[in-house]
């Protein structure tokens, strides 16, 4: 149980960026381990730079260490160079806080924010010296849990994990700690004992207590419990009041550079904009705002404590925060905080938002980012991203006229019903933005960033057959050709091959476990990194196990088809999602339900929680605020008019 630091210190000179592995952050906790306490190792299965800023992990780290019956430390996936050195030296995966072996912990809890890290989970288990298959583990091995957005479909991972935890972690980690501490106190009896106890906690899914039925060894017929302790449906956890959870109180300040290297303060959780492609917006409902006063305190205290000169007000759509104006004003005018810049990671597309941005970015007006997501109004109605062209151009005009030199626009391609006209509408839009910009600045430019759409569980698009790799590739090609002819428009795109694997894992069922293991055994780690991603590993593994991308990724799902996550619940009624899918195909948009009557999606009623919004009126602004075009009978000028409804675009092979 001693520290591995002396052994690690000798080998860290051999690896890149050794500061990734030293811990020592401001805010780090050195816990006192004790036989009565459940020892958690919270693992982010990607590099330190990507994982350290994760707020979910930091929140649980503090909450667990405050409990008398738990301790928590952290680990991140070692880069390939260190992994090789650890294997050569016979050293295991370790925590950063006390450099303790991962196998000495009771719980290894993985934060899963993206599908492509799944093989890194296996890599971490193997480096920890733990059998990768849950069935091969005994009472002497730690429990393996997963949480985060990907745990809403944990089926591809069930071979490797003991439990998946759905929803907000703040409360449920304490209940899990109590169960684990009791299991420890009883001398760690059979794993089945702790599995059964865990299954009794709302929000905890224990896959070993369920079985997946397949018709004729083919399509999934359903996942059902096979143990009396296992509920028919596992409901997600939702904390009612964000004000009761002002975490992280001591955000970790790393000694080496990480992504989002700044103070982060979460201003609300949940989103009811209802963008149909957005899993985060669907599964985190309802909206729960943090009181503006608490946000102000967390910002001011956090800046003083960390020494950061930048704070991000985080949420899924920060301009929608009721107290946004006051909080921003107070932060930028607080002298004690010095020259502080505020960033809003998710800007709404309207002039109001640009006004706020102008207030906080007095200097450094280099680039501003918006996400219209689709190039035509028809397409935006399908995906329910109800931004009018008027709003976008107003926002862009406002940005360029106030000194910004570059505007970045995020779009998705491969959306349901998308035609080439919709795809190319992206470049038309970008060209118009450049034209507006050049009225104000000679060198105005627009960067278009393209992502291939990946349908996700618990969204209205969960039934949609993802575009094939070839089709996504063709669309990106169309966009590149069009952008080449457009002055001032730059284009960037996400690797379309990676989108296919994301799609495979996001909606896959239990059969994919063998594929993930196969890819890992053939060296597929850090698949979210371009330099390591290898589609061939995945296509070969699929072929070896008799599975096809056509069946698992590209195929449209039927209304009555069993989905691999039907025994789990994000609080949303399946018929609400189905109706929203039909509305999408009919090009019918749905307004934000925060300020208009309820659509009964299930998120509020199921948990007895209402949206917690400080302001009874919607925020000022354009089509996404009160100026919503829909209620005025489509009065917003739309350059590209809507066309009649149509069936989903044919999937080319």
């Amino acid at each position: 149980m001693s520290s591995l630091w002396p052994e690690l210190e000798r080998v860290l000179d051999e690896v890149q960026k050794p500061a990734r592995y030293i811990g020592c952050e401001d805010g780090m906790i050195i816990p006192t381990h004790h036989p009565d306490k459940a020892a958690w190792l919270l693992i982010y299965p990607d590099t330190y730079e990507v994982g350290l800023p994760n707020q979910g992990l930091q929140i649980l780290y503090e909450i667990l260490n405050e409990r008398p019956d738990a301790v928590a430390e952290r680990s991140y996936a070692p880069w390939t160079d260190l992994a090789a050195v650890l294997r050569r030296e016979g050293l295991p995966l370790f925590s950063l806080d006390t450099h303790r072996a991962a196998g000495d912990f009771d719980v290894l809890a993985f934060n899963l924010s993206a599908e492509l890290v799944y093989t890194n989970l296996l890599e971490c288990l193997d480096l920890a010296g733990i059998p990768i298959l849950a069935a091969d583990r005994g009472p002497e091995h730690p429990l393996v849990l997963v949480g985060g957005h990907c745990s809403y479909n944990p089926e591809p991972l069930v071979d490797f994990i003991d439990a998946a935890v759905l929803g907000d972690g703040e409360e449920v980690v304490s209940e899990i700690s109590a169960v684990v501490a009791a299991w420890k106190a009883e001398g760690r009896t059979a794993r089945e004992d702790v599995h059964v106890a865990l299954a009794g906690i709302t929000g905890v899914y224990v896959p070993s207590l369920y079985t997946a039925d397949h018709s004729d060894d083919g399509p999934l017929a359903g996942v059902r419990p096979v143990h009396p302790a296992a509920p028919e449906k596992v409901e997600k956890r939702t904390i009612a009041d964000l004000a009761e959870w002002p975490y992280p109180k001591n955000q970790l300040v790393p000694l080496t550079e990480v992504v989002h290297d700044r103070l982060n303060v979460e201003v609300f959780r949940g989103c009811t904009r209802g963008c149909r492609f957005c899993q985060a917006g669907m599964i985190t409902r309802p909206v729960r705002e943090r009181p503006a006063e608490q946000v102000r305190t967390m910002v001011a205290d956090g800046l003083r404590r960390t020494g950061y000169d930048e704070v991000a007000l985080t949420s899924l759509s920060t301009a929608d925060f009721s107290g946004i104006q006051e909080v921003v004003e107070d932060t930028v005018s607080d002298d004690a905080c010095g020259q502080v810049s505020v960033s809003l990671p998710s800007l709404r597309v309207d002039a109001f938002t640009v006004g706020i941005a102008a207030q906080i970015q007095r200097a450094r007006r280099t680039g501003l980012t918006f996400a219209p997501e689709a190039g035509t109004w028809r397409m935006r109605q399908v995906i329910n991203k109800l931004i009018s062209e008027e709003d976008l151009y107003g926002a862009v005009e406002s940005a360029f006229s106030q000194g910004w030199r570059r505007v970045k626009l995020y779009f998705l391609t491969g959306l349901p019903t998308e035609t080439d006209e919709d795809t190319l509408g992206i470049i038309e839009m970008a060209k118009n933005c450049v034209e507006i910009g050049r009225r104000h600045q000679k060198g105005a430019s627009v960067t278009v960033s393209i992502g291939g759409f990946v349908p996700k569980p618990f969204t209205p698009f969960q039934w949609f057959g993802q575009n094939t790799e070839q089709e996504l590739h063709r669309k990106v090609g169309l966009l590149r050709d069009a952008a080449r002819k457009a002055r001032g428009v730059q284009i960037k795109w996400h690797d379309t091959r990676a989108s296919v694997v994301e799609g495979l894992l996001s909606r896959g069922d239990r059969r994919l476990g063998a594929v993930i293991e196969d890819v890992w055994r053939n060296g597929g780690v850090f698949q979210e990194w371009g330099e390591h991603f290898d589609l061939e590993l995945w296509t070969d593994a699929m072929a070896r196990h008799g599975m096809s991308f056509e069946d698992h990724v590209y195929r449209h799902r039927h209304e009555d088809e069993a989905l691999p996550w039907d025994h789990l619940s994000a609080g949303l009624h399946k018929d609400f999602l189905w109706q929203d899918w039909r509305d999408a195909l009919d090009e019918v948009g749905l307004e934000d339900c925060r300020w208009i009557p309820c659509y009964d999606c299930g998120a509020c009623t199921g948990y007895g929680i209402e949206h917690v919004v400080a302001s009874a009126v919607p925020p000022a602004g354009g089509s996404q605020g009160t100026g919503q075009g829909l209620e005025h009978g489509g009065g917003v000028p739309v350059a590209l008019s809507a066309r009649p409804p149509r069936e989903p675009a044919e999937v080319s092979s």
Partner: protein, 275 residues
């Protein structure tokens, strides 16, 4: 644009333990945050991206420890005066910084800096290094050290701006002493020059060295390296000597050299502003 009349302070600190694996850039960011946390009124550059006016000394290679690192901080004159730092006890600021700096980085001394001096990177001409040699006996290291000292030239290849360049680093080796006790590892103390470029201890240990009898000495490797001191010339001498002759000066003589800031620099008024 530099604001005329801003006072500057020089900070001396040590770097040891786990934190030795942070890079020079990491340490710069650690300092920026620490200075903001103690609310020291650091002067900022003008323009679109105001940066704090802090100059860091010679980069310490990642993984090395140090008993003498430096940075110079320019303070905002008006704010420094209004905060009455002028007569503030030096020990107090040192204490406050040590409270917010990570374990392993410790402020040893702080003193006001005379105006018009050279930057740390220009002024420092040599460093004393303590090198714990890995896997070689005392006699072996002795032979290697005399080989180095007897060599006419020591050619070291390195990459600079993407091109391979070969330098003779022999003039940068001012002194080498082999010490340590038997069974406790061999300790090498080296004074190595930094102008026109800094010679790293590991570069020297790994240098290909032709023996007198035609063979080559096997390269050495280090278990640990610590920068013990950084040296600049005494000002009286400096004024007399040209840049060229400075580079050739052997600063092994105690009276010719001085540290940028001594660890036992007495308490001084932190900020001396011109009347």
């Amino acid at each position: 644009m530099s604001v005329v009349g801003n006072p500057k302070i020089r900070v001396r600190f040590s770097k040891a333990g786990k934190v030795r694996f942070t890079s020079h850039r990491d340490v710069a960011r650690i300092w920026e945050r620490a200075l903001r946390r103690v609310e020291l009124p650091v002067a900022y550059s003008e323009g679109f991206s105001p940066r704090p006016k802090i100059s860091y000394g010679l980069a310490l290679p990642t993984g090395y420890e140090s008993a003498g690192e430096y940075l110079d901080v320019e303070l905002d004159r008006e704010k420094a005066e209004s905060l009455q730092l002028r007569d503030g006890p030096e020990g107090d600021l040192r204490e406050r910084l040590n409270q917010v700096l990570p374990e392993g980085i410790r402020v040893q001394a702080i003193a006001p800096l005379e105006r018009g001096g050279e930057s740390l990177q220009q002024a420092v001409i040599a460093c004393t290094w303590a090198i714990e040699v890995d896997g070689a006996g005392f006699a072996e290291v002795e032979v290697w050290a005399s080989g180095i000292l007897d060599a006419e030239e020591i050619l070291v290849e390195r990459e600079r701006k993407g091109k391979k360049v070969t330098d003779d680093v022999r003039p940068l080796v001012h002194s080498l002493d082999v010490g340590g006790s038997p069974g406790d590892g061999v300790q090498l103390t080296a004074v190595l020059g930094t102008q026109p470029r800094a010679l790293r201890p590991t570069e020297l240990l790994e240098a290909r060295l032709e023996g007198t009898s035609g063979g080559t000495y096997p390269p050495l490797s280090a278990r640990s390296v610590c920068r013990m001191k950084q040296w600049m010339l005494r000002e009286s001498q400096e004024s007399r000597e040209s840049q060229e002759s400075r580079n050739q000066t052997k600063i092994t003589q105690g009276d010719a050299r001085v540290e940028p800031l001594s660890v036992d620099a007495g308490p001084a008024a932190l900020v001396e502003t011109r009347a």
